[in-house]
Symmetry: C2
Amino acid sequence: MKTTIAVAKGDGIGPEIMASVLRIFEAANVQLGYEYVEMGKSYFDAGHSTGMTAAAKETIERLGLLFKGPMETPKGKGVKSINVTARKVWNTYANQRDFRSLNGVDTVFSKAGIPINLTIIRENIEDTYGGIEHLLTNDVAVGRRIITRAGSAQVIRYAFEMAKRKGYTKLACGHKANIMKLTDGLFLETFYEIAKDYPEIESSDIIVDDLCMKLVSRPETFQAIVLTNLQGDIVSDLCAGLVGGLGFAPSANIGDNISIFEAVHGTAPDIAGRGIANPTALLLSGILMLRYLGLTTAAANIENALLYTLEQGIHTGDFGDKATASVNTEAFADTIISNL
Amino acid sequence: MKTTIAVAKGDGIGPEIMASVLRIFEAANVQLGYEYVEMGKSYFDAGHSTGMTAAAKETIERLGLLFKGPMETPKGKGVKSINVTARKVWNTYANQRDFRSLNGVDTVFSKAGIPINLTIIRENIEDTYGGIEHLLTNDVAVGRRIITRAGSAQVIRYAFEMAKRKGYTKLACGHKANIMKLTDGLFLETFYEIAKDYPEIESSDIIVDDLCMKLVSRPETFQAIVLTNLQGDIVSDLCAGLVGGLGFAPSANIGDNISIFEAVHGTAPDIAGRGIANPTALLLSGILMLRYLGLTTAAANIENALLYTLEQGIHTGDFGDKATASVNTEAFADTIISNL
Ligand SMILES: CC(C)[C@H](C(=O)O)[C@@H](O)C(=O)O
Ligand SMILES: CC(C)[C@H](C(=O)O)[C@@H](O)C(=O)O
């Protein structure tokens, strides 16, 4: 059986990095079919308020899985990011980002010999991402954050399942329930409620500011952390910084019916079309997707080839603190393919 | 003229670190008088809901300046941290924390030769710290964040003034106005409004998740950052982690009538009374206070002695990643005094 997935190339550097990744998939004999969908900034500009055509939406819902490149956020008051809209439309309630030190990608932590291997699971729909705000007067703005037991439960359960699947021994809940006693309190209460179903995973909680302090000093002590939406957003990027930046961080948005795998970095309009972009984050997201689809052999094969390529010092222009590229996008993909 | 300030020793290790710091002040011939006030967990337990007696409140309001040790947060639903209450009672709207690499305090960044010298200014009253939350049902919690133009303006103006005073060339505004368009939008708008009065300071803004990513990879590129309350709380602790932890981070809560200088680490009940606690954060807060009071010579003198002591490798038990203490609290203070 061959699974078919929806593919949205994305804006800016999206099409070129997507082409590289799918070329690597093909070389690795990945058994997947693709249906390309119309989604991105230009579709928004053409009048589709969600950034996708009706046909794209129908295709994605039929196939249940979207692999997407980065998309530009349309400008303007009241306009939402296409990425955020997509998460909401399909209730992809869990955002998973895996952060791992990569040999060949130099960071302060890799130089200090501190290995990082941790996963952030972020609630992806609620909190201030509901966008419920109003101006009481011209000088007073009020925003609302809403946390529900059901919304918390689904992402927390996903986090425990993921921890189990990955063989993690512990899962922490990050929160600010000492200040937001009812909202984050509900999230935290739900965490310990669900933890009872997973006695094999050691559960603990940590206040988010303390968490950030520890992440920048002892990141190796963490395995998996689940958080509410905005705190999870902040902590995810912090962790991306630990391993070299968004160019090295895969991302999955998991829902019950539809899941989205995407690179979360920007569209880099300044270098778009020049064939020099770094496809690593999208490739890592693709590897996560292959595992999700049960294509574990292909996933491992591609992952090893990627890791080996990076270790060899082959890289595009935005790697860690190295200013110079050794290769362009296609040559990078070629090396990965030759290392398969 | 001799200024008199209010002093609250704090809970746990508070009294012993305060004693060390005031002994150093005395040796440095600091011209200050002290009035000790009754404030802390035991006063809360004795029925004072704000954690201080009426006499303490009166004294602090008369003197206008409080130097305080850490205080334990009373347990219980609906009970607020004494520190947070104090900030609110006296409208100390700006929280300033200076983060600086200290020779002798090893961190991942110091080992990589990355010098850190930056200040976080955090709005200290508004945002979700208003504590306005309710349960809509048992399963739905709603919290409110309120941002006002006046509240934003006072902290932002303080940040620009501080930047000027310190000779900084730039100030950034951290925010999440791409999601919280009205609330953080108001803060951001106010930032650029006030920036017009400070053409000599380069102003810019950065989305808070991106900020955290950059802080853990290129912290040396920042000088001063102003943020709303919760984001500022998170970013402050992240920065504390960069320089060795809360044991090395001074904190000032600035208001128009009353200001509070405090150590923001915990009360460490496990080691309280054993004479081994690290007084560095409280001493750094004290140095910040002396500068605020215009006692700049004494401030510089004590600061140099502290820096020199740390550089010599003299330290208490919680320094960076060194597990062993070379001295206890009093011997540490003695060395600083001998280095004056
Ligand atoms: C672009 C932005 C709206 C988005 C978010 O805040 O979720 C991004 O930071 C992310 O992490 O995917
Ligand atoms: C103890 C806690 C309530 C407090 C805060 O959140 O402000 C602390 O984290 C701080 O930064 O001073």
